[in-house]
Amino acid sequence: MGIAPNVGMNPFPGEDAGVPAGPPPHSPVPQLEATPRRERIGRWFNSIFRLLVTVLGFGILALAALFIIVLAQGAWPSLLKFGPNFLSTSTWDPVHSIFGVVPFVIGTLLTSAIALLIAVPVSLGVAIFLTEQSPTWLSGPLGLVVQLLAAVPSVVYGFWGFIVLVPYMRLSVEPGLQGSVGKVPGLGGVFGGTPVGTDILTSSVILAIMIIPTISSVCRDSLLAVPRHQREAALSLGATKWETTNFAVLRYASSGIIGAIILGLGRALGETMAVTMTIGNADVIPKSLFSQGQTIASLIANEFTSAGPGSIYQGAIIEAALVLFAITILVNVIARLLVGRVLRVEGGS
């Protein structure tokens, strides 16, 4: 079950049964004699097997290396022409062959950040309800539904977003936000512009809806893995349900929860179809939440078919893919450092 670590006690026995303590009365393993011949074959097989898995292991490295080599080769015309300016300019003009990636980096980070802002509290709430509050007869089916939602293809979310969410955002949510929060001094710019429906906010909401099942199902797994004695100890000290959840359970599961958030962030950063269908696909730096924008993934999905082979345009699109690759690696490294820090501070699981 997901990332559940090896813990002896399971708060829900029967659902995810741990390893039985003693040997079963009758071993299912057939008794084999250790003859010299068997031993020889076994040794031979063992070394073949080890070679195989080692090659497969290094194969991943080779694949990553090949990936970077081929991308860099494809991006070469653009790397040569723009150099570091590619990362610091914001014009994307295929007709005049001027390319800068800034609008898309901003679009990618902005939509993912807003999506996390919306999705993390909701997902945590879902996971806490499922593990701490929900009656047992309900938590099983609900958990199943959450996991099912995590497996829905993104194009389906995108289609739903385009047909249902976009008009709803344009006609209700966005004018509503503009009329209420947008009136707060200083926030007018954030909620400025004409609500069109296909914009940064809508695609962030779609991303949030897509990553909520991912984050909450992984969170649920790590909350389930918290030993029952943690809860019992807190309750026996007179803690309320809330205090138990907050101090005994969430802290203990914090590394798993952060892992879940990183998983969600990874999905948000690379999501393509649903974003393309709802973000408005304008190659400009978004001025407000209601501006059209573009993420790196949606840029590639939109434009890769129109760039001629070997052209600077194609090079620029491939270089944008390299930038997305770098952002993903960077986010993962930062997240890993963060997890390490939390583990040291909390001394939890």
Partner: protein
């Protein structure tokens, strides 16, 4: 894990790793890792070399026949032409044709990489793309028009009338200088209508598209500001507006977004019965697009009787703004691309038989194939264009020798 043998050791295969550990781990580990590292590096180099095209094999089997035995031909590219192409390759019996509807840019990539027998694109090759694919030919195999679609709630049009627009007003709308529907230049074109004050929601294609090419070419000829600031291509740097993916995306956006305006293939608009605008032509008439008015526009256009050779540069070809009184002004060709000398391009493994199959199929598309155009809302090629295409096909050769042509299919 469970169960023990009489001597107390774990049973079965689990005793082997323990033994192996002692014997192999320390002594051969370094050599082992070195071997793996070498293998991995060789794999990287081979894969990279394969990617970069270091290994290409040549073998040969030439053959001849007057109507050659059918072989399989592969094409890729334009999604716009796919419905017509589908009709063609399911009807044509002279060869087995496979067509992948993957987009014009990919079509150009694939024919340049010589992974297909022909490519299809709604935009002609740029000079750079032509240089990149030495020996390539291009010819128009069909044509279409770009319709202007809009969403104006509560505006009632008289029967047979629609919104009137012209190139200059469209350019200003898509530049963002005309921002409201009742802006004077737009209202002046529509004296009988009360246009609303609401802001115009501009929608454009987000993916590369031959429709965008034709539309921006039209705007470039109508507005010098558009020509210098934006220019024309399959994707451009749009000054304003929302991008939607594909014809269906843009049509869906206009349907659900009040006060929006956009452009879409005439073919798509007619198939889906979308209401479109009348566009002013050079004689000052406002024309609602139709397949016939587009065909006459292409026939009347200055460039259609003065087309480049198949080897020439088509990126300047402009069949828009034809002078006829009933000609619809936003017309465009769609192109097939293939190699003049398949033997030289693909190597001797490309048989003469296959070259004959290719030229016969291409010939069929511009002659018998044209009869399927109108039913699918494509524009039938005028005879002047077919004549130019025939010259292009006749210029094909197989290692210097003319390729025998026959009507097969």
């Amino acid at each position: 894990m469970s169960g023990t043998t009489p001597n107390g050791a774990p049973p079965g295969a689990s005793d082997l790793p323990q033994e192996m550990k002692g014997r192999q781990q320390s002594s051969s580990k370094m050599a082992y890792m070195a071997v793996i590292a070498v293998v991995v590096i060789v794999v990287i180099i081979v894969l990279a070399g394969w990617q970069l095209g270091w290994f290409k094999s040549n073998s040969s089997t030439p053959a001849t026949a007057s109507c050659p035995a059918p072989v399989s031909l592969t094409g890729a590219g334009s999604t716009f032409v796919f419905p017509l192409m589908y009709q063609w390759y399911t009807t044509y019996t002279g060869s087995t044709v496979n067509y992948e509807s993957v987009g014009s840019g990919t079509g150009i990539s694939d024919i340049s990489a010589k992974t297909v027998d022909f490519g299809a694109s709604d935009a002609p090759l740029t000079p750079a793309q032509k240089t990149n694919a030495s020996g390539i030919l291009q010819m128009p195999e069909s044509a279409g028009a770009v319709a202007i679609i809009f969403n104006l709630p509560n505006v009632n049009f008289a029967a047979g009338k629609s919104l009137n627009v012209n190139g200059s007003v469209l350019a200003q709308i898509f530049l963002g200088t005309i921002m409201n529907w009742n802006n004077t230049p737009l209202q002046t074109l529509n004296p009988g209508l009360t246009l609303p004050i609401d802001p115009i929601s501009v929608q454009h294609r987000s993916d590369g598209s031959g429709t965008t090419y034709a539309f921006t070419q039209f705007l470039s000829s109508a507005s010098t500001q558009w020509a210098t600031q934006v220019g024309y291509s399959t994707t451009v740097n749009w000054p304003v507006g929302t991008g939607d993916k594909g014809s269906s995306g843009i049509a869906g956006a206009v349907e659900t977004t009040q006060y929006s305006i956009a452009y879409v293939d005439l073919n798509y608009a007619l198939n889906n019965e979308i209401h479109f605008a009348a566009v002013e032509n050079p004689t000052g008439a406002f024309i609602l697009p139709s397949v016939n008015d587009t065909a006459s526009a292409i026939a009347d256009s200055k460039d259609s009787t003065n087309l480049p050779l198949g080897t020439g540069n088509w990126s300047g070809v402009d069949v828009e703004n034809a002078p006829g009184a009933k000609d619809y002004p936003i017309a465009t060709f769609t192109y097939l691309m293939f190699y003049q000398n398949p033997y030289a391009a693909y190597g001797s493994s490309y048989t003469l038989q296959k070259a004959e199959n290719l030229v016969n199929f291409l010939n069929w598309t511009i002659h018998a194939g044209q009869s399927y155009s109108e039913g699918l809302y494509y524009v039938t090629l005028p005879s002047s264009v077919v004549a130019a295409d025939v010259v292009t096909l006749d210029s094909m050769n197989y290692n210097g020798a003319a390729i025998p042509q026959a009507a097969c299919g």
